[in-house]
Assembly symmetry: C2
Homo-oligomer: 424 residues x 2
């Protein structure tokens, strides 16, 4: 226990000190560090793959399932892709130092709101080793320091990647300790991190719902976490049918395992007879299982070749993360808004309609990070939005909502230029 | 206990429902509500003063001290001042609906970041009844709903003011329940509010350090609270002496009981002999007690008529909130930066210097909500900054830093206009 405390305590102190210097480091040094990291990911690929092999073999022996094994695996190709991502972050504009606003008061004071780093970010993540590189490069670019705590399944890979990042960064002029990796595997270290409010300004958990819930409930400092995405698409009576088929199909099928994929399709009763057979036929092509309310079931039962299941209460508000969809026929836009308010998770919601008044009401009244008219919810993504890389998607309303890019891991300070002004 | 739960639960449900409608209420309706509140504060002044008299008499009998009694007291003049403040909030621009940014992607999607209300704000406050009106009008203007929980000492005043606000608001078209006042006095209600994360989006505690600490430690939702202000002013070797005297005097003396008042004066050794006698003579004029480090004591001991006390360790980092100041002679800007990093509370820090490089370093390296060059820290204030009214001063880095005005009690959502776009 003492050893645990000591490592974390020491590294947190160093990260906090380093944060003071990171705050005014030049963009050149930060970008050079990222470029170096990208180069080293390729140079050191054989060492990295050896380290990863240790993790992978142990996981295989322990009986880890294929999906998790795949997440753990590093390959030459994946390292190249990681290097490309790091170079992409390097090429983004530096958010730090931006003057967000300036005002000159009548007494001559010039007041500026200037973007600054948040400080020390604690990252707690599970088995994917690429998170080590993703998070540390985003943090460095935004002038933050980072304390990395990865899962034990990927300890060898994470250690090798973290060492690479640290060395490449320090060589470029980043202060020592700006990126730091916690070696101790004891699980109690997570709890200890969550209580270090005077050292860590923000905690970013990356992993399953269990980890995120635990972190949110126990952290004394702010947490930014991608929440679950229970996403609805509403096909209005004034929808263009072709667009409605293409959008719902894309949102459900293009990558069903992610948070911005479609879960519940709400269809206006006036268009249900025309629309449902079309979309269901498309879904049948790729084997989507459809959980139907009574009305949609009565319509779709007339077709053959569909995987139909009567919907149960808990299908509404469920994130399926697979080729399953719930379909409900609704009587009105009002019913849709009530349904989304009740079952949505505040992530991404879409309407398909050609009526601009209906679209306007949907945009105004749906309370979610991203609200779409006539487009697939799959676009909810930092790089799709043109924000560059992202740490995740926030479904909270404080600080950052939607994709968490570089700007979203910054703060600001007010700087005031006077010439002897005093308050009367 | 059941009765407590019921009142809070019911009112929180209504506030949450009302928040959906508040989100797209027109500026006209919100401003009309505020204008009506201002009018009613004057129309109903005799009733309000009767209600306040009940609280005041009870507090007097219970032996409440004069300062607290003064905070509790309402007068015709104070009601007029409250009405003026409400009208000032009405005249501010509506933050809601602002399009913060727009981008058009190469696939034709138009992505906008639009300012929206936070939702439901819970206010927990102590004896000052004007907080009932301040917070509810700021919340309404920013499209939020608010659950008010005031102190028991001002229950009659708060109830009368909250009823007035509710009636005037509803008459203007604000949904019923948008402003709601918790009648139950049981202290456990505070704890219950702090756990209602699915109903309350933000908690704003207003009161003493004990209340704020309790709320921060126990709330499951985000908290925005004015922290303590341990404010430093550094007189550099290249300071203009007259400015340095005027600024330090103003920052300490103009209103010593507030968070942006000066606590510790740091003076460069090269200017200490010239500066310290001047500022100390000014301080002596108004009876400021000076806690001196060894060097400043040896300089000031040569003067008569000063209230000098040798500084103790815990004078550094102390918020005095009175006519007491700590003075330390420092050897360099580096020592100043270290001292502020160690003892500052991240509120307001100032440097007095004519050297622009020194000023630049101070602005960059001091990590605080507001950093000043050649001006008094007393300017840290929403209305001084030209932001309009404020809920308080935030010393945290997430979401809002510095004065918390209308914009700082909002969130945003991404709205995306497509024409059938799907993700490739």
């Amino acid at each position: 226990m003492n050893a645990v405390n000591n490592e974390l305590q020491l590294k947190a102190e160093i990260a906090k000190d380093a944060a003071r210097f990171m705050a005014y480091l030049s963009s050149e040094i930060k970008n050079r560090a990222l470029e170096n990291i990208a180069v080293e990911l390729l140079n050191q690929s054989s060492n990295l793959l050896v380290a990863n092999k240790l993790d992978y073999s142990a996981a295989e022996e322990s009986g880890m399932n294929t999906a998790l094994l795949d997440r753990l695996l590093l390959t030459e190709e994946r390292l190249k892709s990681m290097a490309r991502d790091v170079k992409a972050v390097a090429s983004l504009p530096d958010p730090i130092g931006e003057i967000i606003e300036t005002r000159t008061l009548s007494n001559g004071l010039v007041i500026q709101k200037k973007r600054v780093p948040l400080g020390v970010i604690g990252a707690i993540y599970e088995s994917r080793p690429n998170v080590t590189v993703d998070i540390s490069t985003l943090c460095l670019k935004a002038g933050n320091t980072v304390i990395l705590r990865g899962g034990k399944e990927s300890i060898h890979s994470n250690r090798a990647l973290a060492n690479l990042v640290c060395e490449a960064a320090v060589k470029s002029g980043i202060p020592d300790g700006a990126v730091t990796f916690i070696e101790t595997l004891d699980r109690s270290i997570v709890n200890q991190m969550l209580k270090m409010g005077s050292h860590i300004d923000l905690i970013v958990p990356r992993g399953g719902a269990g980890l995120i819930k635990f972190v949110k409930e126990n952290a004394v400092m702010p947490v930014v976490a991608g929440g679950i995405g229970v996403c609805h698409t509403y096909v209005d009576k004034d929808a263009n049918l072709d667009k409605a088929v293409a959008i719902a199909f894309n949102a459900k099928v293009q990558r069903p395992t992610v948070c911005n994929a479609l879960d519940s399709l709400l269809v206006h009763k006036d268009i249900a007879d025309a629309y449902l057979p079309k979309i269901a036929t498309e879904f049948a092509r790729v084997g989507v299982e459809i959980h139907c309310d009574a009305i949609s079931l009565s319509i779709l039962n007339q077709l053959s070749g569909l995987k139909l299941v009567p919907a149960e209460d808990d299908d509404w508000g469920k994130e399926f993360l697979s080729l399953v969809i719930a379909i409900k026929v609704v009587a009105s836009l009002n019913e849709t808004l009530e349904h989304i308010s009740r079952y949505g998770s505040g992530h991404s919601e879409a309407i398909v309609t050609e009526d601009s008044d209906t679209a306007k009401r949907f945009l105004e009244e749906v309370d979610a990070a991203c609200v779409y008219v006539n487009a697939s919810t799959r676009f909810t993504d930092g790089s799709q939005f043109g924000l560059g890389a992202e740490l995740g998607i926030s479904t909270q309303k404080m600080h950052a909502r939607g994709p968490i890019g570089l700007k979203e891991i910054t703060s600001y300070k007010w700087i005031i230029f006077g010439n002897g002004q005093i308050r009367p």
